[in-house]
Symmetry: C2
Subunit: 308 residues, 2 copies
């Protein structure tokens, strides 16, 4: 799957991911009203609204991008019906040949991580049959529990040719509270980064490992340092756009080969029509606004990489 991600980045010339993190407040009124007319102002209605919203955005941008990153929390908040919309979104994006990164940030003790890994990347056995529960291509994983919480995910990735992005330095303002604390002179995030490199060494595609890392766009200096700590790991970089990151800040997340990072934008793309810059599209044409925002983001990052 890391090879597919790389070949799609090369084909689209866009090392970007669209974060499908729909808040109901992002969904234009005409879509909400249609869903509510059919299903009522219910969890099912909300799920239908976000699914229709996602589908139009995916239809509008899928040829420009290698990957999407649905954030499961935004679906899980609507209970079972929301998770059904998550699954429909994953399946639809895969049918469009997009790489799907499930932003699930799971992580637990060994046997429990094994269940998460089976449910999101692998398969479960039921009697003599075998099923995939959610079947994303990559997932994000929280490393706080250490190696035996991560290894079950790696085992499933080896079987299924899938991949991981381990949280190393997150994009949020208080990420430093624990992650920046010094241990033998090194910040915790760097120790986690060193482990990502170790875990990943055993899981190589042709040039990059399928064990990657999450490092926030909002921390470019740390990104530069971590790039060197994990030279063979892809870095998933959230925090572009609405969270404040810009293309020029992000060049050091990439290797000299122009690869090794993939930059996520969520609200900046999916709710682009709400920005002044794209207001001319109007809520009716929100998906065209998303397409314009993808083109601008790809150009920003391409430009920054050419000028570094």
């Amino acid at each position: 799957m890391i090879q597919k991600l790389i070949s799609k980045i090369q084909k689209t010339q866009a090392p970007i991911v669209v974060g499908l993190d729909p808040m109901l407040s992002y969904v234009p009124d005409h879509i909400q009203q249609k869903a509510f007319a059919e299903y009522g102002e219910t969890l099912e209605g909300a799920a239908q609204a976000i699914w229709q919203y996602n589908k139009e955005i995916v239809d509008s941008v899928y040829d420009l991008i290698p990957a999407v990153k649905p954030q499961i929390a935004m679906y899980e908040q609507f209970g079972i019906e929301g998770l059904r919309a998550f699954k429909k979104t994953v399946d639809y994006c895969k049918s469009k040949d997009l790489v799907v990164i499930g932003d699930v940030k799971r992580g637990d003790i060994g046997s429990t991580s094994a269940a998460y890994a089976a449910g999101h990347l692998g398969k479960v056995q039921v009697g003599s049959n075998v099923y995939a529960g959610f079947d994303e291509d990559f997932v994000t994983v929280n490393p706080y529990l250490g190696s035996d919480g991560v290894k079950p995910f790696i085992d499933v990735c080896k079987q299924e040719k899938k991949g991981l992005f381990i949280l190393v330095k997150t994009s949020n303002p208080s990420s430093g509270e624990f992650q920046d604390r010094l241990i033998d002179g090194k910040p915790l995030y760097e120790l986690v980064g060193e482990q990502v490199a170790k875990w990943g060494a055993d899981c190589m595609g042709d040039t990059y490992s399928y064990v990657g890392a999450v490092v926030g766009a909002t921390y470019p200096e740390q990104g530069k340092a971590l790039r060197k700590v994990m030279p063979k790991s892809f870095i998933l970089v959230p925090g572009y756009g609405a969270q404040g990151g810009k293309g020029a800040d992000l060049v050091h997340f990439f290797n000299e080969d122009g690869l090794g990072a993939i930059v996520n934008s969520s609200r900046g793309i999916i709710a682009a029509y709400k920005q002044e810059k794209y207001a001319k599209f109007g809520p009716e044409n929100f998906a065209q606004a998303s397409r314009a925002a993808v083109e601008d983001m790809a150009a920003d990052i391409r430009g920054a990489l050419e000028n570094r």
Copy 2:
């Protein structure tokens, strides 16, 4: 909800939680066969089997215990159908007046944690209606992202009178890999414990905070130290029984008032019929075996507390 937990612990004289973490391999054949006859060897069939298994165990033990802790990963591995069984289990346990601790170990950046908190402890707005997605009483939270990943959970707890258990020192063998690393002479888990005490100071019930901590039974020395760091926080203690912890090891997780900790056992209770000690019950009477195992566990911990 912390008051309800305390009053139920006092009433049952059993500071224990039953972990409803069903593996399909724990479910006796007669239950699996009945579910598969009705729904096929499908995800729906698996979900039906674990739901029926849970229900019989809950019916057999609910009067002896204050709380249950369903581990969502064990349901999530079966996709949407599995999560439907999770929700049925949560709802059923609440109808039996049990406190339900959703072992979800979620945690993300602020707006995303807010969505998880709404889905698991709070409510979401859909048009002019308001719904609860999963509606547990407590959830477990991963602290790696720092305060702004935890605060949205606390905010919802204040509104809804619910509670949290934050991962501090987990029960698994490699938990020390990051959690034990020294920062200014103190292990990371102690810094996290200090934060739990700070977060909790603002969230007090009558005598205990509704912001608690997770500390593994497998690390009794660390439990003793953390008890002092977080005197007003309840400690959820996993790892009793199958993972190796015993009552005598656990006394220092409790305060002098005999409160302040609640000990979880999962496999040791729900799959008790598979142990030699309870084999006489047989698979047909697995729920009676679970009841006997609950009684033995409660007696072990009560005895240890009386003899300390």
